[in-house]
């Protein structure tokens, strides 16, 4: 038995990049990072995933941008941000100064724009990994979202992979509202993705019955929060089952350590926290602590041993330290 004082090895890998622990912020849920650093030291996170950076500054969508829904919320912020130049000049250096590992999310309207972003990022110091937000309308395809089309997704990923420095992993962020998420995931991996992140927010809508108009100015918005967790777990499960060797960043309504563990058991080796940050600025650290305690209670010495564990065949007992010792005899 493990003594309670022993700590679990929480290190994890995003492709070859080692993270001290598996908990990161989710893209677009921590603004520039400076806001949360008033509450805690960002270096204590596995990584900070930035908001999706675009070439030019973006004002985003009009308000109302947010509507609360049962156990979740709809948002249509529209990637408000300063653009890549200001990001590289001010926001990224501040993250690096604070000792945070920065995973930079990028968003574009065309393959060329993603490639241009990758080119700007490839000489920037402090980019631990690049996450490609594929849930953007493709201006060259009548505004069809890249993530809905395996070929378009693969094209974006391969152009970013080809442009980005070889030692910076490229993560493809997938949308859940597609016909076959495994097909998109496979296309991205074939296109050169070093890891996958899922899920982005599925599209939702709510109507205010008092004003009898859509609740959001944009009409539709991304649904997040615990309401989408089962959807996230299903996507993780299917993709991990199809490609068990590909590292996956799991996210979608993680509010507690138990939720994070669920993602890990489904196949995630990194867990991102999004909507919970709007509810609790300390959510990431709390979830990390709870996750570590849960792993400890279950006899794990290493986080890595729990990744994808729910996929073991029925009847095979939980794989923990004792079993490993027996199997080595």
């Amino acid at each position: 038995m493990l003594t309670p004082e022993m700590s679990v090895d929480m290190r994890t890998y995003l492709a070859h990049v080692e993270l001290a622990n598996p908990i990161t912020t989710a893209a677009g849920c921590a603004a520039s990072g400076a806001e949360l650093s008033q509450f805690f030291d960002l270096a204590r996170l596995g990584a900070v995933v930035t908001r999706s950076i675009t070439m030019a500054p973006r004002a985003g969508r009009p308000t109302p941008r947010m509507a609360e829904t049962p156990s979740g919320m709809l948002n249509a912020v529209g990637l408000q941000g300063p653009g890549v130049e200001v990001f590289l000049e001010r926001e990224l250096p501040r993250l690096v100064d604070r000792g945070a590992r920065a995973v930079v999310s990028v968003a574009g309207g065309s393959v060329a724009e993603y490639a241009a972003l990758a080119r700007r990022l490839s000489d920037a110091p402090g980019v631990a990994a690049v996450e490609v937000n594929l849930s953007c309308p493709n201006v060259e395809d009548l505004g069809r979202v890249f993530a809905r089309d395996p070929a378009a997704s693969a094209e974006v990923i391969s152009s970013v992979r080809a442009t980005m420095r070889y030692d910076v992993p490229v993560i493809a962020k997938l949308a859940p509202d597609v016909a076959d998420i495994v097909a998109v995931a496979r296309a991205c991996v074939d296109g050169g993705a070093d890891a996958l992140a899922m899920i982005n927010t599925p599209l939702g809508m709510s109507i205010d019955v008092d004003s009898m108009r859509p609740s959001l100015a944009a009409g539709t918005g991304g649904l997040s929060g615990p309401a989408i967790r089962p959807l996230a777990v299903r996507c993780l499960w299917q993709v991990h089952a199809a490609m068990p060797g590909v590292p996956i960043v799991g996210m979608g309504g993680v509010m507690t350590g138990r939720d994070a563990l669920e993602m890990i058991l489904a196949g995630a080796c990194v867990v991102s926290v999004g909507t919970a940050l709007f509810h609790d600025p300390y959510a990431c650290l709390r979830i990390l602590r709870e996750l570590e305690d849960l792993l400890k209670e279950r006899g794990f010495e290493r986080l890595a041993d729990a990744v994808g564990l729910a996929h073991r065949p029925p009847g095979a007992g939980p794989r923990h330290r004792i079993d490993l010792e027996e199997s080595s005899l």
Binding site: A56, G60, G72, F278, H279, P281
Partner: protein, 290 residues
């Protein structure tokens, strides 16, 4: 900072609810204009967004208390209105940019609409301590929705009340009474807190008199500390450029004439990064990337 506060007292004030919470860390850092955000629905809530409230009163009792005043508008505020003494609340605060206060004594008109007047009393206190004259103009749709009339009468050099139905004070809106109050008091500055249309009207009056106006806006927000990006409104910066500013961290107090009230709920075409605007023209393809 985040504090688990204990509810000390709850009371009804006409159409509103007031909740006094023991929250030492927040009380001692509080300055007039700050707000707090409260998690609603208990530990396993189905409501992930926090609710933001302005602070009515801060007292040193029990290490420091804050009093929040709010109207029940939905499930979250209904839950909050049911809280009883000794229950705990998850508070984050003090948040936002407080009211700037003048260095030298001057005459200030404080304008409050609905429960927005709640945040003006701490300000009035600070202003009076600095030797400022304070005049109040408070208004709402009806008498039971005018918050703090008695306290305003006690504190203010003059207090003017307005209701749209005429049930208290003058019939009309605060903006109808404001010009004569500014003129009579020879006011140097206006502070206002209340619904957006009122702030727009108050700003127009202050601009007419060519005196500075500080408005505290009320936008719906999910977090209160700058990460959700939902509480934005178009504000003109020092450089003359309009940006979609967050009311939680860039505000909630803005110089009134900098807020583009007529464009709230839109992205003005000349805002930084507006769709189709110069900044986004061509995006990556045409931009010179050196």
């Amino acid at each position: 900072m985040q504090v688990t506060g204990t509810v000390l007292t709850t009371r009804r004030v006409d159409a509103y609810h007031a909740l006094t919470v023991v929250a030492p860390g927040i009380a001692e850092r509080f300055r007039p204009g700050h707000f707090v955000s409260v998690a609603v629905g208990g530990p396993h809530t189905s409501m992930p967004s926090r609710r933001a409230f302005s602070v009515h009163d801060v007292k040193p009792d029990y290490g420091g208390t804050v009093e929040l005043v709010f109207a029940v508008r939905g499930r979250g505020t209904a839950w909050l209105a049911e809280r009883k003494a000794r229950e705990t609340l998850d508070l984050v605060g003090p948040l936002g940019r407080p009211f700037p206060v003048p260095r030298d004594p001057c005459t200030c008109v404080l304008v409050g609409g609905e429960y927005g007047s709640a945040s003006l009393f701490a300000l009035a206190d600070t202003l009076q301590q600095r030797g400022c004259r304070v005049d109040f103009v408070l208004g709402a749709a009806s008498a039971d929705r005018v918050f703090g009339a008695l306290r305003a009468r006690r504190m203010g050099e003059t207090t003017t009340l307005t209701t749209e139905d005429g049930s208290l004070g003058l019939r009309g809106r605060v903006t109808d009474a404001l010009p004569s109050v500014i003129a009579d008091a020879r006011a140097d500055v206006v502070y206002a807190c209340g619904p957006m249309p009122m702030l727009r009207g108050v700003t127009a009056v202050a601009v007419e008199f060519d005196i500075p106006v500080q408005v505290s806006v009320e936008e719906s927000m999910a977090c209160g500390y700058g990460v959700c990006m939902t509480c934005v409104l178009p504000v003109i910066g020092d450089d003359g450029v309009t940006r979609m500013a967050r009311s939680c961290v860039d505000g909630p107090v803005f110089r009134g004439e900098r807020v583009r009230f007529e464009d709230i709920g839109t992205i003005p075409f000349d805002a930084l990064g507006a769709p189709g605007g110069r900044a986004q023209e061509g995006g990556a393809h045409t931009r010179n990337v050196s």
